[in-house]
Symmetry: C2
Subunit: 110 residues, 2 copies
DNA sequence: TTTATATGCAACTTATTGGTTGCAAATATA
DNA sequence: TATATTTGCAACCAATAAGTTGCATATAAA
């Protein structure tokens, strides 16, 4: 019964952490590649802490990394978020569903 | 700089776990309130394990619980997912952005 | 060559997570 | 009343997460 979807699991996990969402956002609005150190400078956290988050974002393909010289440039890629959007899409039809059915149930009308 | 958004954090956290997504989905398609035990029966996990997940979903307001007699009925509410959708919306404009800029950067064109 | 910079790796700590079991309490049923 | 059912609470455990520090290495600059 347990059917794992490792890729989407990684995306959900990556965006679950507010710091990672913040890193991702910073890279998206930067719009260009940024060395890891430059990313790290923007957060009140050790470079290694940021690096760990970056790795998780990279595993989810929300960040791509290209090395040049001694620097590793991070660039956001929003594309994997499409999977989340697809997942959400199914539930849109229930967004504004009233909870009447529950009320009915509790009133014994169901 | 750290500005916490506890509610949306709880929603992201709730949907980060595949088991919780599965529980939520089961309740959504059930379409009606379901006692905790009945939810738990559907998963190969102890009742308490399921209960813990339900609590986290409840904290995110993705499940509402109403008690009648000794039973507690769970009902899914997709509404909080709107927040996730809103969060995603900002990034839609970047979904299909090519990574040319990165390439340019690496080629020294930038 | 010497020095400074950017980075990765490993070890470690602490907190959280995901799961279990056992027991008690409340409600329903015989 | 006695018994069965539904549930919550607490304790516990193993694994993971989130963060730190120290050190090694590769590249760039003086």
């Amino acid at each position: 019964m347990k059917k794992p979807h490792p890729h989407i699991d990684r995306i959900f996990k990556a965006i679950a952490d507010p710091t990672r969402r913040s890193i991702f956002h910073a890279l998206v609005i930067a719009g260009s590649a940024m060395p890891i150190n430059e990313v790290a400078e923007r957060f009140e956290m050790s470079r290694q802490g940021v690096t760990k988050h970056i790795k998780i974002l990279e595993a989810a393909k929300l960040i791509q990394i290209h090395q040049r010289g001694r620097e590793r440039f991070c660039m956001a890629s929003a594309q994997p978020l499409k999977s989340i959007s697809q997942w959400l899409q199914f539930y849109e039809q229930f967004w504004d569903q009233s909870l009447d059915r529950l009320g009915q149930h509790l009133d014994g009308v169901d």
